[in-house]
Amino acid sequence: MFRPHPYFPHTQADVDAMLARCGVADIEALYADVPPELRLKHPYDIPEAMSEPELRDYFARLDAENRTLKCFAGGGVYHHAVPAAVESILARSEFLTAYTPYQPEVSQGTLQYIFEYQSMMCALTGLEVSNASLYDGATATAEAMLMCVAAARRKRRVLISATMSPAVAQVCGTYARWHGITLETIPEHDGATSLEQLREMLGAGDVAGVILPQPNYYGIVEDFTGVAEDVHAAKALLVLNCVASTLAVLRTPADWGADIAVGDAQSLGMPMNYGGPYLGYMCTTRALMRKMPGRIVGATTDRDGQRVFVLTLQAREQHIRREKATSNICSNQGIMALHTAAYLSLLGPEGLREINEAGCAGIHALVNALAPGGRLTPVYPDRPYLNEVLLRVADGLTARQIIEAAAAQGILAGIEVAPDMLLVACTEMQNRADIDRYVELINDLPLHE
């Protein structure tokens, strides 16, 4: 009756014995309550079973249709080196095949790496509490927005900078629309958030939170001096969305006076993987600890006095007050938190600083090398940038044309922000020869009328 398949251990003798125990003649009897008219009318229209070699061939054929490019694109996703040791640790199936650590006695591995991850993210952001539960930087920012509104009780306005990544702003907009939050955009001035406009918008009242990016979507490092004071004076919360890797060298969200730091942890050495999985990080203050979505791990002792780790503050928000929940997050982004903890352990503070130095040196070298050709020049030349920059495409070329021509030669030239604007990033993964090749390619492109 059952064909052997590697994932099904049952022999016909097993099935017969199990049916006998259940007191039924066949499995069909166990589905007697499913009305006949609902039953499958025809076999699923899906391919026949593949053996492992066939599966490998199938995926090899698919993957042959992709082209891995030398990556100069960022826009929230950066190509960093992934240490082999991280891959090896992630492959430990005791980590991979466990679920949320409901039973601490048999989940210390998971609980402990989450505790380590929390510690490291707090060290990076300067804040006091971290979860390990959010999917990506965009949804983490939307969760921070929900948190602001929940903490403010009755206020429903949240302000977000025009310099935020469009994908992040759009996800926040979606959550805001359906949750009933008024999300307003703070205009930009010369590539950075207009702090003057922000003050005016705060003055109009009813603001629960303000969400600003660092570095912003154009790669610009913004100066938030005085912002937290203004935001807090309006009894609102300040949320900073920071590119995780840059936290090692830029002023911390805590030092800026932020109440919540969020963002994508992909830049901490996660493979780009065509969009996921990544990890949304979120850190906050002790004061807001109980408003934070997701699960938190805390240290305690067991009956024998050993230091152990447990899920704690479990009874918050959605866990029990479910119909009044301000978040529906119910698990951990476990393996990606492990990825981050292992990565940061291997790199340490110096390694992470060098990552930033390499990106900074690379992008500035690229901009300098592009300057004589005049075909790609910074849109906001007076603004500081760390590892990413928005470039203006000269007349006679378009961003799309550059991207397509470069891709044909194995280079991902950047992200099209506008027909004449290209967002370009560097990390430790592009060497001088790559940069020279990029410049040559740009300078060799034929101009059209």
């Binding site: 059952f2 166990l30 009305p35 629309r177 780009m272 065509y274 002792t301 529906n328 938190a337």
Partner: protein, 490 residues
């Protein structure tokens, strides 16, 4: 699993000057951070991250892993979580350099394979769910629920029907259902269950009116019972102008039996980390694709993978009636690849056996233990069932004690104290990937525990005895939260 606790923290191995990874040498003189970034926006002190060498890092995490119980360690009968085996070929096909270095914004002509895989999985899930179209963007089951409810809100909004602000959810539902509804801006109305765990149809009819946007159901429900009245429920819900949402957490027993679309559901999500074998990863990442019936496709989130008549794939950001964007990119691509590999491995001839074998396994355990454990809802279950503690409760042994004692015996505990319909819920889901030998060993352990409850209840109440750690002090953890290494050292 280890019997001795390994509880060092990586910070405790940190020594100034150690390194676990080096970077390519650079000779660019341009652009030091000090030159590029004004001092006011730079970090003052370097972050307190550990400084460790590679062997120490590897040994540390390897030792930690031995304190963990996973599906690869042993039987994990966690109800409603479908802890089935996670095939190794899926991992091999997901964690490959062919995928790792694809940037999500690279031109479509350089990512046709990735888009084809995405498209293919969309088609397969649509066929298995009986739906017209799927989006694979949602990152998790709860994210799928939220997305599905937004689809429903977008549908009503598009019709100009703004009065529908409520969602009806059974009292037996997964906790995320009402939470997702609240985040989607909907008010939750609970519908009662009948004694057999199925929806009280009269109560449902009373609560359905023109303010209800949707009814969310799990079928089979959290007690493992199939809602046999589903055709009538669907008709009633649709007659009231609401849509019917299928929580796919319990889809596994329906593989090969029936499709949610054919049952009358309009919108559904699937937990790929349950039914389609992708690993749970200590809680994630998972994936929660959302399917819709014909007529609702335009409300799905952007971006969407589309295919033209020549078989060329692109990604569309445009749709006026779409609910909006709910993810940075196109979902958890490597999780999606694993699910695709799983479906193709089983193929049309094997996938139809998933549901029946999972159901047979659950009934086998139920029949083997119902003389000792209280079975509040008799009769054939589907993939899971609920015991309400021991039949003989005179010893005072609770579900928590039973769960902890199972850890001693080398099994993960079932889901406990859920659903909330019973005081001592013990929810068991074996899945189709467990052999009869494993099930027999579990049955024997459960029978031994029932025996211990009679003969030696005091020791049983102190369980676990043989795990790497003993019972933790959770009150202390909650009263004085110590959440970081800094908290431990200051």
């Amino acid at each position: 699993m280890n019997r001795t606790l390994y509880n060092h923290l990586i910070f405790e191995y940190s020594r100034k000057g150690r390194r676990g990874f080096t970077l390519p040498r650079r000779d660019d003189a341009a652009g030091s951070i000090e030159a590029a970034i004004p001092a006011a926006t730079r970090r003052e002190a370097s972050p307190e991250l550990p400084e460790v060498d590679e062997p120490t890092v590897v040994r540390h995490y390897t030792n930690m892993s031995t304190n963990n119980f996973g599906v690869d360690t042993g039987f994990y009968p966690l109800g409603s979580c479908t802890m089935k085996y996670n095939p190794k070929i899926n991992e091999a096909l997901a964690s490959t350099s062919a995928v790792a270095n694809l940037h999500p914004a690279q031109p479509f002509f350089t990512a046709q394979g990735a888009l084809a895989a995405y498209w293919q999985l969309q088609r397969l899930l649509s066929e298995i769910g009986g739906m017209a179209e799927f989006t694979l963007n949602p990152y998790a089951g709860a994210h799928g629920e939220l997305t599905g409810l937004m689809v429903i809100r977008a549908y009503h909004a598009d019709r100009g029907d703004s009065a529908r602000t409520k969602v009806i959810v059974p009292d037996s539902a997964h906790g995320t259902n009402p939470a997702s509804a609240a985040v989607a801006g909907l008010e939750v109305v609970e519908v009662h269950s009948r004694p057999d765990g199925t929806v009280d149809l009269d109560d449902l009819k009373d609560k359905l009116d023109e303010t209800v946007a949707a009814v969310m159901l799990t079928n089979p429900n959290t007690t493992g019972m199939f809602e046999r009245n589903i055709p009538e429920i669907a008709e009633t819900v649709h007659a009231a102008g609401a849509l019917l949402y299928y929580d796919g957490a319990n889809l596994n027993p329906m593989l090969g039996i029936a499709r949610p679309g054919d049952m009358g559901f309009d919108v559904m999500h699937i937990n790929l980390h349950k039914t389609f074998s992708t690993p749970h990863g200590g809680g994630g990442p998972g994936a929660g694709p959302v399917g819709v019936r014909h007529g609702l496709e335009s409300y799905l989130p952007t971006p969407r993978v589309v295919r033209d008549n020549n078989g060329y794939y692109t990604v569309s950001e445009q749709s006026n009636s779409s609910l909006g964007r709910i993810s940075s990119w196109l979902g958890n691509y490597t999780v999606l690849r694993r699910a695709l590999a799983y479906i193709l491995s089983l193929g049309k001839e094997n996938i139809v056996n998933v549901g029946p074998l999972a159901t047979l396994s659950a009934n086998y355990i139920m029949h083997s233990l119902c003389d000792l454990y209280e079975l509040p809802i008799p009769g054939p279950c589907k993939h899971e069932f609920v015991f309400d503690g021991l039949k003989d409760k005179s010893s005072g042994v609770t579900t928590l004690n039973i769960a902890k004692r199972l850890l001693d015996k080398g099994f993960h505990a079932p889901t406990i104290y859920f659903p909330l319909l019973f005081h001592e819920s013990l929810m068991i889901e074996p899945t189709e990937t467990e052999s009869r030998d494993t099930l027999d060993a579990f049955i024997l352990a459960m029978r031994q525990i029932a025996e211990e409850a009679k003969n030696n209840p005091d020791e049983l109440k102190q369980a676990p005895h043989h795990t790497p750690m003993a019972k933790p002090d959770e009150t202390e953890a909650a009263m004085h939260p110590r959440l970081t290494w800094k908290d431990l050292t200051s």
